[in-house]
Symmetry: C2
Subunit: 434 residues, 2 copies
């Protein structure tokens, strides 16, 4: 039995307030985007735990202690990320142990795990890894299933208050896995209210136009609050309700559903997902249901649309493949786009998009084929066809068609939004809206 | 003349310490990634201004005031972002004015600008915009060239110290433009030292192994400091030197170069870029120099490698196109991979990778062809070929070969790292290292 595996205490009181302290000089220098704080903040908000402050501090013992102590004054739970690596400037565990009145001792189980982690990779841990097996004597130790540095949860009295200090590694994959497997299940038992959401995802309408269509619903919100979030080419509406943790899910849904229905009546034509599924997953489901295979013919997106679909596990059920015809010669030789079309109307045209889709469907022997051809910039635009002009074509058993779009933004934004709209056109086609 | 356009004061003393306070409930809920803090932190570090703390707080007047006051105690300059919008919960300007002992008054010039901003877009400002023209009476007002909310710089005595409080909008495009046009030129005059960097990017070696090879150089660092940063499949070394702002660039380089040379001697075989260029740009340069065209044959990455190269403007000079053969049938029909190879050795094998590359080079008529075939998971792994097994093949005029890799991580990590290593293999081939 491992003496150091102190069990996490049972909840005596609710954890209502938490803070995130991100540790790392690379954050202060702007070398790294703080995705850890975003991920943790989202998780805490889902758990109904309030988070009023976030802080970032470097690998400096005095300032780190100052920041963590201030957070412990204000909140029941403080979660730190980062500074658990094997090098000398990774000092978080020591600083946290000091604050909690604990000390670092050798932890055999963690050493065994680190050796195993290296062995699988045909490596031997260096002497530096020894630092990562010096762990607090009276904290709950959290194993790291994606790396070497274990985490810990301290539980102690601070200024007469019960406090929890959870110490997580910085690399996002390690942090997220440890949070999901260790901290989250435990936190769930400490929170008496959970935030429930429904997400309505839309494409083809801007944020302000969408909000204008449902302003009265947003303002009349009772228990259900509504918030719009815009990202590349799409707007998501989040409907939220804070419910007691033991409220049956049917009752929660009975609160959210009427509001969702009201919204759907107004903006139905733009909605592609009512359960927060990304576009690629929606399209994959529709194709699976129809037992149909799809292929792509991509120019300016150069493979990004097929790759987006392939992100989803199980994509092989519906994705045969694709052709990337970045140069015009391949549009002709592989897809059979006539030289006349390329010369007369150009590669960014309705005729070319349709010919590409028809050619791809025949070459790839799929039920559906999607083509994308456009001007992503920064060069290549003209008065008639400015940067952002994109033609998307679809070919299927009953015919072929193409649509034109004009997207704003830089090269990679245009490529990303083109992919979203190409998949959306396929979705509409699968739903026989087109 | 605009009475409210108080001039920014001339530098009396150097600004050495700054803090960033990010304002917005969406950050606390984890709905938004804090790119503003990253961007500002990077800029401040380049300007040689130390930034020891970052904070995030919501749109709550008491907590916002508390956080800004604490920052003003610790640092010469505090920069806030966010909370300048037209809605009622946007209160940053009012809170900052209160702290600085200023008050908000009507600002005619800003109203004129907002009307103009809307007029260009064929719109009329709503009554809500009136809030955004109530601005501090004795601060320097910064126009917003990408949106409606102006920013401000307050200059005042705080606890007997000269302090600057700069208030910027939250939307990243507006924030960055205002910083570049207004705040940065002014801050440059306040900073007597600038930080210079050289970046060395490597692939094919883990962070700890890389650090082990240069530990003594890292520890013997004099004026040049060295920091490693790991990201998906690669490790970057940053060499930094803080130099007086009037030191000629030759002298700065004379400090960094000897250290860079020492490092290169040790890890040369892993380095792909010494000037912070991403892999795709390095490959594009090499292909351009050789006037060679490349094509791709992708299975598990499904177009991601070609799309990565196409990210870089000017990719059409070197990228002909590619074939995405997600299903085995297309590997046979399009690329000519024999049914025997597929049946006997499987799609994830040396023979298949080579046959795919050879087939692609012939089909796409390119000088080089790169193939990727692997098991990205979560399904499809076996004892002999576990998830993460990837074969990368190259075909060129002098022959063809393939390499096998075993990558860790989830489906999309494996796909991303596969692309990086495929481009790296092509790079080595172009440099005739392979």
């Amino acid at each position: 039995m491992d003496l150091f595996r102190v069990a996490l205490p049972n909840p005596e009181q609710e954890i209502t307030k938490a803070e995130i302290v991100s540790i790392g000089t690379e954050l202060l220098l702007g070398q790294t985007l703080n995705t850890d704080a975003r991920d943790l903040a989202r998780e805490l908000s889902e758990l109904g735990i309030n988070c009023y402050y976030q802080s970032v501090v470097g690998d400096n013992p005095e300032r780190m202690e100052e920041v963590i102590r201030l957070s412990l004054k204000r909140s029941d739970l403080v979660i730190t990320t980062g500074g658990l690596g094997p090098t000398e400037d990774d000092i978080t565990m020591g600083v946290c142990a000091k604050i909690a009145g604990s000390e670092l001792v050798y932890h055999a189980e963690s050493e065994r795990r680190i050796k195993e982690f290296f062995a699988i990779r045909g490596l031997v841990p260096s002497d530096k890894s020894k630092k990562q097996v010096m762990l607090p004597s009276d904290a709950y130790i959290m194993p790291n299933d994606a790396g070497t540095a274990p985490g810990a949860v301290f539980n102690f009295e601070y200024n007469g208050q019960t406090r929890y200090l959870a110490v997580l590694p910085g690399p996002p994959m390690e942090m997220n896995l440890m949070f999901q497997r260790e901290l989250k299940p435990w936190l769930k038992r400490y929170s008496r209210h959970h935030l429930h959401h429904q997400y309505i995802r839309t494409v083809g309408i801007g944020e302000s136009q969408l909000v204008a269509k449902i302003t009265d619903i947003i303002h009349n919100q009772g228990l259900v609050s509504i918030a719009p979030y815009a990202s590349a080419g799409e707007v998501m509406l989040r409907l939220s309700v804070m419910a007691p943790h033991d409220m049956p899910i049917d009752e929660v849904n009975a609160l959210i559903q009427p509001v969702a229905e009201q919204i759907k009546e107004r903006i139905d034509e733009y909605i592609y997902s009512e359960d927060n599924k990304p576009m690629a997953e929606v399209v994959l489901s529709l194709l699976t249901k129809e037992k149909a295979m799809v292929g792509f013919a991509e120019s300016c997106t150069a493979g990004l649309a097929a790759a987006e679909l392939a992100k989803i596990p199980g994509a092989s059920r519906v994705l045969s493949g694709g052709v990337i015809t970045y140069c015009n010669e391949l549009k002709h030789s592989l897809l059979g786009v006539s030289r006349e079309i390329l010369a007369r109307e150009g590669a960014v045209s309705e005729s070319c998009a349709i010919a590409m889709a028809v050619g791809a469907r025949s070459l790839l022997k799929t039920d559906y084929a999607v083509s994308i051809t456009g001007i992503a910039g920064p060069e290549g635009g003209s008065e008639v066809k400015p940067v952002g002009t994109v033609w998307i074509g679809i070919s299927h058993r009953n015919g072929s068609f193409a649509r034109s779009f004009l997207f704003a933004g830089d090269r990679n934004h245009i490529r990303k939004v083109s992919v979203l709209n190409a998949l959306d056109l396929l979705r509409r086609c699968l739903l026989s809206r087109e």
